[in-house]
């Protein structure tokens, strides 16, 4: 059944993933084993397929949905210990948004999905998101990372605005702030005083892993 679960996620079949997860619960399969041996490897394969250009955003979106649905079912009736163990393996919590004024969010959505399949807990706030709303959400969920995307050179100022606000509120040290998007380069990164920036989604995932590891 673990192989079937893996296959359903790789084939981004949400309904099938749900049914198999339910069967696994009935069969008494250890949810930790199902996640570690079925879902985690499937997530990696989906991420790799995106990197190779075999999968595109909709496939990753659906695979992520299948993955989340299966985890929810597997953990719904499991012991607190199992839930804690799965949660403890999460690499961190990320609040991600395309900044205020910017309506371009494909890059941000791809990163959000790749972070999810790489075992981050992701709160995707969408596009054109107010700076204070991003900070409030990060506070609310006790995020490790705030990830800010801006495609346009005219909108990237809002990335700095979030950091300025965090500094002004005395909360800068609470969060790792990553920036990215078409308009971001090394010069802008230095100007914003962010903790890191990446050229593309795959690099951003590695950066997130590195920054979280350094913080812990």
């Amino acid at each position: 059944m673990i192989d079937q679960l893996q296959k359903s996620i790789i084939e981004y079949d949400v309904e099938s993933a749900k049914k198999i997860a339910e069967k696994m619960v009935k069969a008494g399969i250890d949810p930790i084993k199902a996640v570690n041996e079925g879902i985690a490897p499937a997530a990696k394969i989906v991420g790799d397929k995106f990197e190779k250009g075999e999968y595109f955003l909709p496939e990753v979106l659906l695979a992520s949905e299948a993955m989340k649905a299966a985890v929810d079912i597997l953990l719904a009736k499991s012991e607190a210990r199992a839930r804690q163990e799965i949660e403890s393996k999460r690499l961190g919590k990320v609040v991600i948004a395309t900044v205020k004024g910017d309506i371009h969010d494909i890059g941000k959505t791809i990163l959000a999905l790749l972070l999810e399949v790489n075992n981050f807990e992701v709160y995707d706030l969408g596009r054109d998101v107010d700076s204070m709303a991003i900070i409030q959400k990060a506070n609310e969920v006790n995020a490790d990372i705030i990830a800010l995307s801006a495609l346009m050179s005219t909108t990237r100022g809002a990335q700095k605005e979030v950091i300025d606000l965090l500094e002004g509120m005395g909360k800068r040290d609470r969060f790792i702030v990553m920036i990215g998007g078409g308009s971001v380069d090394d010069e802008w990164f230095r100007k914003t005083r962010a903790d890191g920036w990446a050229e593309n989604a795959a690099e951003a995932v590695e950066l997130a892993k590195k920054l979280v590891a350094e913080r812990r």
């Binding site: 250009g53 595109f56 955003l57 909709p58 496939e59 979106l61 659906l62 949905e65 205020k100 004024g101 910017d102 309506i103 371009h104 494909i106 890059g107 791809i110 596009r127 346009m152 050179s153 005219t154 909108t155 100022g157 809002a158 605005e161 078409g182 308009s183 380069d185 010069e187 593309n200």
Partner: protein, 462 residues
């Protein structure tokens, strides 16, 4: 002849009353399955050996697939969470509103653009555009003048200002409106100083939101009705109220109204799906965004260029499908990965120019370079290469198969570098800013690459 806009109130009403769905549902349950379906049903296949393909039936199938796809999917309004859909009859009525020609600019600087056919012997128009390259305020006027002074330029776009008079420009803040107004004034001043006061300018990159765009509409110092104004199509097949606000303003005030089509190769789909989305976006562009010209830049997700093999196929597919089946007036906007004063950027821009020209694009709208990312890294020379080479291909009646071979040869010279392209030089480094002329180094490089292109079969007039 009917004329756009086409039933504006109907569109606005449907944006408020159409079927409700979340954006995720639209993407995964409506757009994605229909895209997969039409790719299969119409047997659309990317062939890396046939980048500028000569198969007319493929072009026609792409059009049929895009038509079927748009009828099935419609447009998602991100502001109201509703789908805006149309019947076949309605789209046909809107298509009948497409104009036969458009005039941009005024006085002696007025130019006519019209639809072209595949392998058309009529010349395409030429626009010189650094798109959204950032520049300092002190450079803005000479920078724009350098583009306006290019003899082939029918129209220009302008760089983007990050601050004015020490004031940082922030989208959505009052500084955006202030920056946009100054931008428009400076661009118009640059055109006058260059001796082309009436040239069409696509203002104003500094203004992203509708309020700032609207603020620049003033024929005395800002946007004239002979300028081109754009509303973007959000990726993919989406629109928001801000875009609709712009559209209403542009039509009401008589501007040349166009829409921006920038689907992402590697985002929602590969080249086949992206080409279908781009063609379908033209239908949305007409019925929702109400644009009767379009500016296309199907770019690659990782390096923001339109010059990979997959993107050039997509570029060719879009214009061939539209040129054979519609009378859209299409601008082909090239994005290169490499920066100015490099051999690679000249290979890339030449490849984009000839692909667009022979495939039926109405206007060569060239060129954003250095992945459209780095400050002051774009010059008129890259656009000059794309336009001179595209025009040469048309004047000498090159066929698609000829251009396909040239493009494949050019790809051999740059494709392996597209992942880590040379950034080249800034405008200040490879231009004499005072004289608005390229440095000797860049001129010599340009001539050397032109010679290579001659050896590949491009016959230039000069």
């Amino acid at each position: 002849m009917p004329a756009p806009p086409w039933r504006i109130n109907e569109v606005l009403e449907r944006a408020e009353t159409g079927p409700i769905c979340t954006e995720k549902e639209f993407d995964t349950k409506i757009l994605f399955p229909n895209l997969k379906r039409v790719i299969k049903e119409y047997d659309i296949r990317f062939d890396p050996d046939q980048i500028v393909f000569s198969d007319d039936s493929l072009a026609d199938d792409l059009w049929k697939a895009a038509w079927d796809f748009y009828l099935s999917v419609g447009t998602y309004c991100t502001s109201t969470y509703r789908r805006i859909t149309f019947t076949e009859k309605e789209i046909r009525e809107a298509m009948s509103c497409l104009v036969e020609e458009v005039y941009v600019g005024e006085g002696k600087d007025r130019r006519r653009w019209a639809p072209r056919k595949v392998e058309d012997t009529k010349l395409p128009g030429c626009g010189f555009t650094p798109v959204g390259v950032r520049c300092d305020e002190d450079l803005f006027i000479p920078y724009v003048m350098a583009y306006v002074m290019e003899p082939l330029a029918d129209a220009v776009s302008t760089p983007v200002l990050e601050d004015i008079e020490g004031l940082e420009i922030k989208t959505g803040a009052p500084s955006e409106i202030r920056g946009a107004v100054v931008h428009a004034m400076l661009a118009r001043q640059a055109a006058r100083r260059a001796g082309r006061p009436g040239i069409a300018i696509t203002l104003t990159g500094t203004a992203l939101l509708a309020a700032a765009q609207i603020a620049t509409s003033n024929p005395e110092w800002g946007c004239k009705t002979t300028d081109i104004r754009w509303t973007p199509i959000l990726s993919e097949l989406k629109v928001g109220n801000d875009e609709l606000d712009k559209m209403i303003h542009f039509h009401q005030n008589g501007y040349v109204a166009g829409c921006l089509v920038g689907p992402i190769v590697g985002g929602y789909a590969g080249p086949e799906g992206t080409a279908i989305i781009a063609i379908a976006s033209h239908i949305q562009g007409l019925v929702v965004n109400q644009g009767y010209i379009t500016c296309n830049f199907p770019f690659e997700i990782k390096n923001f260029s339109t010059t990979t093999k997959e993107c050039l196929w997509t570029v060719s597919a879009i214009y061939q499908a539209l040129a054979r089946n519609t009378r859209f007036i299409t601008l082909s906007n090239g994005f290169a990965a490499a920066g100015p004063c490099t051999d690679m950027v000249l290979y890339e821009t030449a490849a984009h120019g000839i692909t667009s020209a022979v495939s039926g694009a109405s206007v060569l709208w060239e060129s954003a370079v250095a992945s459209n990312k780095y400050k002051e890294r774009a010059t008129p020379m890259e656009a000059r290469m794309a336009c001179e080479t595209g025009l040469a291909a048309v004047k000498t009646h090159l066929k698609r198969e000829d251009v396909n071979e040239i493009v494949k040869e050019l790809l051999k010279r740059y494709e392996h570098r597209i992942g880590s392209p040379p950034l080249g030089k800034t405008f200040r480094e490879c231009y004499d800013v005072e004289k608005k002329k390229p440095t000797q180094e860049y001129v010599e490089l340009y001539e050397r690459i032109k010679k290579e292109l001659q050896d590949l079969g491009i016959e230039y007039e000069y």
